[in-house]
Symmetry: C2
Subunit: 302 residues, 2 copies
């Protein structure tokens, strides 16, 4: 019995559904744009995926006492940025992947040129979406401007793009754990941190709370990535929807490679505990969903 409070799984699906619905509305459906661009953007944006980042935006906003509604435009924005990064990552010049989530990658369907431009379009349109939180839900301009600044920072050269460059170059041989941490921090955690901070800003959190959300995101982002490394090594291929041991085959260095499987598992637990403590002490109005997310990420098997 939980007095009608939706379970975590229900909560997660309901946000994922809302974001998916909203994304179909904000996509350039009725716009005067070339069909191929519209189709290419839609293809990758609606390809499914966990919608983890939108969940973080909404959960952080609600934790800070804000409404889920007002967080939806920013939740869509972060999913657009995440999607663009996947499209560009998959390109022949980058990881040269033919499949993602069991479907042909964007450039395999639409060609390289359109895939590059669809990524550019999604990245650009993400900033448009952020502004809509002011236009449609009256989030104060000053807060929205900070979200724009954060998105540019965490997704830009000092953030996600920097991590991607380091990852690409690292394929020629990472020798230190710190290099791997730089890549994980920027390639994965930065957008996770942004999602939490942005949700907090929509809600009007204090700077102290924003800092706690950032630190929470940094911990769960790293734990998430280590868990990914572990699952790649020992996960269930059917659940993951992709073949395991790809890191070993591609000779990619991972956490288990550096510190071993058991220590990697302990590190995931340690980071999760640290994240939860930080959030509990932040004085947020309703931190429960964030705590559930931390546990969920640690125990996931796909």
């Amino acid at each position: 019995m939980n007095n009608g409070r939706p379970s975590f799984n229900q909560y997660m699906s309901s946000i994922s559904d809302r974001v998916a619905t909203e994304l179909t509305h904000v996509l350039p459906g009725a716009w005067d744009v070339p069909d191929s661009l519209r189709e290419s953007m839609t293809y990758s944006l609606m390809a499914g995926g966990k919608r983890l980042r939108p969940l973080l935006v909404v959960a952080a906003c609600e934790a800070g006492g804000g409404s889920a509604e007002a967080a939806i435009p920013v939740a869509c924005a972060v999913e657009m940025v995440h999607t663009y990064s996947l499209i560009h990552d998959d390109l022949p010049a980058m990881d040269n992947d033919d499949f993602r989530r069991g479907k042909p990658t964007n450039h395999k369907v639409f060609g390289e040129a359109t895939a590059i431009l669809a990524g550019d379009a999604l990245l650009t349109h993400a900033f448009y979406m952020v502004v809509q939180s002011a236009r449609k839900f009256g989030v104060p301009a000053e807060r929205v401007l900070s979200i724009v600044e954060d998105l540019a920072e965490y997704a830009g050269p000092r953030g996600m793009v920097g991590g991607q460059v380091a990852d690409m170059e690292g394929e020629q041989g990472i020798t230190k754990l710190e290099e791997l941490e730089y890549i994980h921090l920027h390639k994965t955690s930065d957008l996770i941190m942004f999602s939490l901070i942005a949700g907090g800003r929509v809600a009007g959190c204090s700077e102290r709370q924003i800092e706690a959300l950032r630190a929470f995101g940094q911990r769960i982002g790293l734990a998430f990535q280590i868990q990914d490394d572990i699952l790649d090594l020992i996960g269930d291929e059917a659940k993951l929807g992709k073949s395991t041991q790809s890191d070993v085959k591609q000779q990619k260095v991972t956490y288990p490679y550096f510190i071993g499987l058991q220590a990697s598992r302990l590190e995931v637990g340690r980071l999760t505990d640290e994240a939860k403590t930080l959030i509990k002490e932040a004085g947020l109005e309703a931190p429960d969903r964030l705590l559930e997310i931390a546990d969920f990420l640690m125990s996931r098997d796909h």
Copy 2:
């Protein structure tokens, strides 16, 4: 005698120099980013070029009674967006160009993957720059938010990226002048319109004035592109710094192709006159530089 008022050429160079200086300061010089990313971004951003779009931002801001200073962050932003679009346009999957402005293109120097990511980084960082007009010069948040929204609109799927997709697909055969106009409007004019509108917003122009700046930009943008087509056909290779008749050789359709050389020239003149009339009637504080820019673009030989 002009009472010490700098000539148009002096005005233009002084803004170009200021923007170049500012760009070296805002580039990720001291940042903790991979060297290759920093070098690749810098290479294309500092490759010269006319700095036309920054000039438009500053001139529009001054026309509306604002200070050149406050317009500089947005001027840098638009140059970053313009530069990213050139880097991605030149890629093998797109126009596959080996040279730009007499120098090897970004991907020829840094490789395709880094070139794609440098473009992504410049586009993302442009939004960071826009926000700095609020942070450093106190431009009101509401105005800056509108500039962010406009940049996403004019550079995004409904704007520049849409034009680029149409251009790419048009290479398989444009048969109507309207198709060519769609491409020119979005691929070239949109960013020119944005520059003028954004400058006006920094200055705090009225919506009526913003609309006049937009209409002015639409006219001079199209005139600029037709002039480009004309110069490609009959220009002086030494002045242009590139070989002429490339459109003919690539069988690209152009204005002269559709309506003839003489009619194209008349159209440039007509659009320029229309643009100037619109600006004169907009009630701007100091429209003179904008009028000079319109004349300069019409009469340029490179």
